[in-house]
Symmetry: C2
Subunit: 252 residues, 2 copies
């Protein structure tokens, strides 16, 4: 499997309100599911405050490390919405009123019976060279520059923007997975599972304890791979190991 | 206000299952609320995969930048639980079986009628010099070394560990906040709000759009400060601004 089969992504969540606890993020998990479904490996997430140095620093670190960076938050009309400024700064390009964004926002303001004022004009500032990312929910566009896709923080708007860009993203070979309920304690399968993981290097084997319907400790084992045959071989090994352990220890 | 009044923190979430979307993180928001209540500024969050280079890199970046780093996840008994190894590596200390952790885990294994095997022994490995962080929920301890506090990923266990360390944390002057419902669109208050924010530099003013009970666009304005008098002055300015705008535009 060549490295070109793997497409990676990071998410950068921008907003004091997430870090203060006032707003609970719902975007990380949504984008994680979305990337997995597309065949893109989400490798890292960062949450930073509405602070230029913090946003620019995180953005530059992430955009040099991964195929795509998705940002959420900070593209509204108020003084604390500084994402566009930060991205322009990170790319070293000017921030300009984008004629199509101005047209979209002006039409929308007229329809709502409000004025196209200085605050709303803030939302039409796009880093030079960036393409608009339309959204059918609230109108105000996000943008895509280089490998960075800037989206709103409001979940419904972010979803619309992700749907807009998804068909244009490069995607990799999809990771497939199998989940096996161990009916065993994690501590009783750990050693054997580690040996299986070592023997099946093209798979990723995860172990996730949970409390089952009887209120007892139980474990889900998840095997992931881009190769169906290797996934099946690891699954067979895990199932044989679980049968051995149950024969030895009896049911939990 | 001196800089010693400000205590900062970062959260490092470790786990493939968060990045694949399989598990939805519930710890970030919980820790954010907890830090705010304690008077500690949560400044950054990162989520990384179960990969040594990724964990060590993030940990070193965060522990040099903030007063405290709280990690969640990766301290279970299986091969994909590599947090203790990574923290030992980051601090340049050996990872050792901690006698008290061994005693706790052995007693627990005996009570459950299971064996103290190699997998469970993994959970007693603590970076040399680290102190145990007890948990009354599942028994298995976390640990505290330098300015890094390592906790479980399972929310109920993490909560117990946070309660255990909270009384020992240095805390700063608490941030206080006032929330004002604008009854106005964000785009109609943005310009004026920006001017108020500039005129009140010891406050942090955030603007958060929401859909109200009539289904229309509305905005919450949140003013935060460590100084009650400065908070009150900014609040008065915001309320006067909202009254002016309502007089001009009528109700939304």
């Amino acid at each position: 499997m060549s490295s070109s089969d793997v497409v990676t992504a990071a998410v950068l969540v921008i907003g004091d309100e997430i870090l203060s606890g006032r707003t609970k993020d719902k975007n990380i998990g949504y984008i994680a599911d979305y990337m997995t479904a597309l065949g893109i490996d989400l490798k890292e997430v960062r949450v930073v405050s509405d602070d230029e140095a913090a946003v620019v620093g995180a953005l530059n670190a992430l955009r040099s490390a991964y195929t795509y960076v998705f940002t959420t938050g900070g593209i509204g009309p108020t003084h604390d919405d500084i994402t566009a400024d930060c991205i322009a700064k990170a790319f070293g390009v000017p921030l300009e009123f984008h004629p199509e964004a101005v047209a979209i926002m002006t039409e929308r303001a007229t329809k709502m019976g409000t004025e196209m004022n200085e605050a709303r004009m803030r939302m039409t500032r796009i880093p030079k060279g960036g393409a608009l990312v339309y959204n059918k929910v609230s109108g105000a566009p996000g943008f895509w520059i280089g490998n960075v896709i800037t989206m709103a923080g409001i979940p419904s708007v972010m979803h619309a923007m992700l749907d807009e860009v998804a068909p244009k993203l490069k995607t990799g070979v999809k990771m497939i997975s199998e989940s096996i309920r161990a009916d065993a304690r994690e501590g009783d399968v750990g050693t054997e599972l580690g040996a299986i993981a070592k023997a099946h290097p093209d798979t990723i084997i995860g172990s996730y304890p949970f409390v089952d319907e009887k209120g007892g400790p139980n474990t889900n084992l998840v095997i992931r791979s881009r190769d169906a045959a290797k996934l099946a071989a690891a699954k067979t090994a895990v199932e044989a190991m679980l049968a051995d352990i149950k024969a030895k220890m009896g049911p939990i």
